[in-house]
């Protein structure tokens, strides 16, 4: 594989302007992430200390093998919901190494409303368990939750992908032979009680850990019975009487020690043997990505320059370089893992769509995981393109992509608008992981386009109703629509709603993909095959 030749001039005015812009965006992201991770009201931190509990991140740190990476997912989930009172959606989720095994770690956050689950907490937990199922990753639950946030129960309890899905996924994971361990540090109330209940192994801390369907206040209200937490669902009772939990621990540290020992007993399921070479750092400095991604979402840039700063040795074997040039396709290695990359260099035309579909088929034939680097404003529109069958050619790409058996990974490098999102493995297409850069925007159309469309509709309405068009009213509507739309398009809104697995600093793309690809190899490949391609 030959090295990509970069044509970036790091001394140019464009580069410097972009760099300043993107560094500002990343600093803003880091500040939000830092606040979501560590900033809590003092009284909540004091309560934690009184209860002799460790902060949730300290628990994770102790659980992980020393010196190994932890890929945190969706660190800014719920950042634009509930008035910001549920940082990281009150739950920490990530992939790390425990006793030499890749595991999914999922931790409640007792510093926010006693670890209560908000609707987006449930969504985040369900997603974590979906990832565990798709990639056959064992799960360690760090339990400390008061249960569902009752004021919002209708948004977290009844539907298919709500509360019940957590326990359904837990059951199926166990059936698949993917192990789960629950470490009960605090309360597991109501639905939360089923987390240790459905885990294959569970450890409970004396004094602070408790598991019950109804806590003492609910029992009192329901039956009039007076009962203490310890009697109702404490460590002694559950490990010696009910058998709901397996091992009592004297402290949180002790529970973690027992937990690590349990994980070290687990068999290692066979991994899928992907093509692998010795990893090599990119030849070009990844920090230059900041100067390459433009300061305006409308400005195009060459995605090869990004590829050169993510892949091993900046080496890239480009497939069909002179055909369908708005979609760059080719092979490269990331942390030594062979991948097929599809990256947008403009609008998808007929030829680029067909090339993409063909390349996806090649990767499936060759057992090569797919990486999608999105910067897409859509498939080309207009008479000429419709006559050439742009819809059916786009459909070919969506068909090939949807039916892929190899793992897929998506990085939202910039814009993701319209149906281009579908062809390029958007959230709906079950990619194993999807990460966004802070500059990312997503929507059916851009903010200006939405405002123009609505302003036009409004003007026509005014004409029909009375004749005169009130231009100031139209302008106000335009500005309002654009503003509201712009907010919804932002990566922060996207990640708040868990439309991705987290915003990442562009510089971390290579590492995030490395962990994600490695995790994906735990699951065997499905059978090959596609539906009917429209020719």
């Amino acid at each position: 594989m030959s090295r990509l030749q970069s044509s970036i001039n790091t001394a140019s005015a464009d580069f410097r302007r972009n760099e300043a812009h993107n560094r500002r965006l990343v600093a803003e992201f880091r500040a939000k992430q830092e606040a979501a991770r560590h900033s809590r009201p003092q009284r909540d931190l004091d309560r934690l200390a009184r209860q002799q509990k460790m902060p949730q991140r300290k628990r994770i740190e102790m659980l992980l093998d020393p010196g190994t990476p932890f890929l945190e997912l969706s660190s800014l989930a719920a950042n634009m919901a509930y008035g910001g009172e549920s940082p990281s959606a009150s739950s920490i989720v990530g992939i790390g190494m425990v006793s030499g095994r890749e595991v999914m770690i999922r931790a409640d956050d007792p510093t926010v409303k006693g670890g209560a689950w908000y609707p987006l907490t449930v969504k985040k937990i369900v997603r974590a368990l979906d990832i565990a199922m798709e990639n056959r990753l064992p799960v360690v639950h760090l339990c400390d939750s008061a249960g569902g946030f009752l004021q919002l129960q209708s948004e977290l309890f009844p539907d298919r992908y709500m509360g019940g899905r957590i326990f359904r996924n837990q059951s199926l994971l166990s059936k698949m032979g993917v192990k789960q361990l629950a470490l009960v540090f605090g309360h597991c109330t109501a639905g939360g009680a089923y987390i240790p209940g459905l885990s294959d192994y569970s450890v409970i801390v004396r004094g602070t850990g408790a598991v019950f369907l109804g806590g003492p206040p609910l029992v009192k209200a329901a039956t009039g019975e007076d009962v203490t937490v310890e009697e109702l669902g404490g460590a002694e009772m559950h490990t010696s009487v009910s058998g709901t939990c397996d091992y009592p621990a004297d402290s949180e540290e002790h529970a973690i020690e027992i937990g690590r020992d349990i994980v070290s007993q687990w068999d290692r399921l066979p991994r899928w043997e992907a093509q692998r070479e010795t990893p090599e750092e990119p030849f070009y400095d990844p920090a230059e990505i900041y100067g390459i991604v433009p300061d305006d979402i409308k400005k195009a840039f060459d995605m090869r320059e990004i590829i050169a700063r993510i892949v091993d040795g900046s080496r890239f074997h480009e497939y069909k370089p002179n055909y369908g040039t708005t979609l760059v396709c080719g092979f490269a290695n990331i942390w030594g893992f062979k991948v097929g990359i599809l990256a947008n260099n403009g609008v998808l035309f007929n030829d680029s769509s067909i090339k993409g579909a063909h390349f996806i088929e090649l990767c499936n034939q060759n057992n090569t995981p797919l990486v999608f680097l999105q910067n897409i404003t859509g498939y080309m529109v207009g008479r000429e393109y419709e006559r050439r069958g742009i819809t059916k050619d786009g459909a070919k790409m969506i068909m090939a992509q949807s039916c892929s058996r190899v793992p897929k990974f998506t990085v939202m490098c910039n814009g993701s608008f319209g149906a281009g999102n579908y062809g390029m493995c958007g959230r709906a297409f079950d990619g194993r992981f999807l990460f966004s850069w802070p500059n990312h925007q997503i929507g059916v159309m851009g903010g200006d386009q939405a405002a123009n469309t609505l302003a036009e509709v409004k003007a026509n309405q005014m004409k029909r109703n009375g004749g005169a068009v009130d231009q100031s009213e139209i302008d106000r509507l335009w500005e309002e629509t654009r503003k509201a739309y712009q907010e919804q398009l932002s990566a922060y809104h996207s990640t708040s709603e868990l439309w991705d697995d987290g915003i990442i600093d562009p510089l971390d793309t290579r590492n995030a993909l490395g962990v994600a690809i490695s995790a994906s190899l735990n699951a065997p490949l499905g059978p090959p095959g596609y539906g009917v391609f429209r020719f």
């Binding site: 030749q5 030849f283 480009e318 370089p321 403009g346 609008v347 404003t377 608008f417």
Partner: protein, 166 residues
């Protein structure tokens, strides 16, 4: 397979004719027998070419190998056939619209000299602004693009003067 190698700016063609019992290569049509690649403890290496012993040292560089031999250093780089082919393309006289759209900025005027890769016009289509660059070094002979005006696919937006002979 023929390997194309760049040795200090000169291209050489190398073909492996046999690997066993000895390595036999053809370099620019001349046949050589290479034997016994030994590594000495100090990082230097030794081999025989057509019976003559040859001592050298090598080190990897950013995009090739540096070979130290007879008190001199040589930079050796393998040329990639695919990369060479795509780099050789271009050189056209016109800048055409890759798709229908609108002209946003015209950066150059008739008579300006441009270098390959320099932006001549910026267009917008499908919510995306694209820069159309000079396909080669030259002088602008014609600018058909007008800021704010639309154009169809394949429309000629600018033209370079034909290169002067000699």
């Amino acid at each position: 397979m023929v390997l194309k190698l760049d040795l200090d700016g000169t291209v050489h063609h190398l073909t492996i004719l046999a690997r066993r019992p000895h390595l036999v290569v053809s370099v620019d049509g001349r046949r050589h027998v290479v034997q016994g690649l030994d590594e000495a403890g100090d990082g230097s290496r030794q081999l025989t070419v057509d019976g003559e012993p040859l001592a050298f040292a090598r080190a990897g560089s950013a995009d090739g190998v540096i070979v130290r031999l007879d008190g001199r250093s040589f930079a050796l780089r393998r040329l990639d056939a695919a990369a060479e082919a795509s780099a050789a393309g271009g050189g056209a006289n016109v800048v055409r619209a890759p798709m229908p759209g609108t002209v946003i900025v015209v950066h150059k005027r008739v008579g300006d000299s441009v270098q390959r890769g320099e932006t001549i016009v910026t267009i917008e289509s499908m919510k995306l602004q694209m820069k159309l660059d000079a396909p080669r070094d030259g002088e602008i002979a014609e600018i058909a693009a007008r800021e704010g005006e639309g154009f169809d696919k394949d429309a000629v937006l600018a033209r370079l003067a034909a290169p002067a002979e000699g």
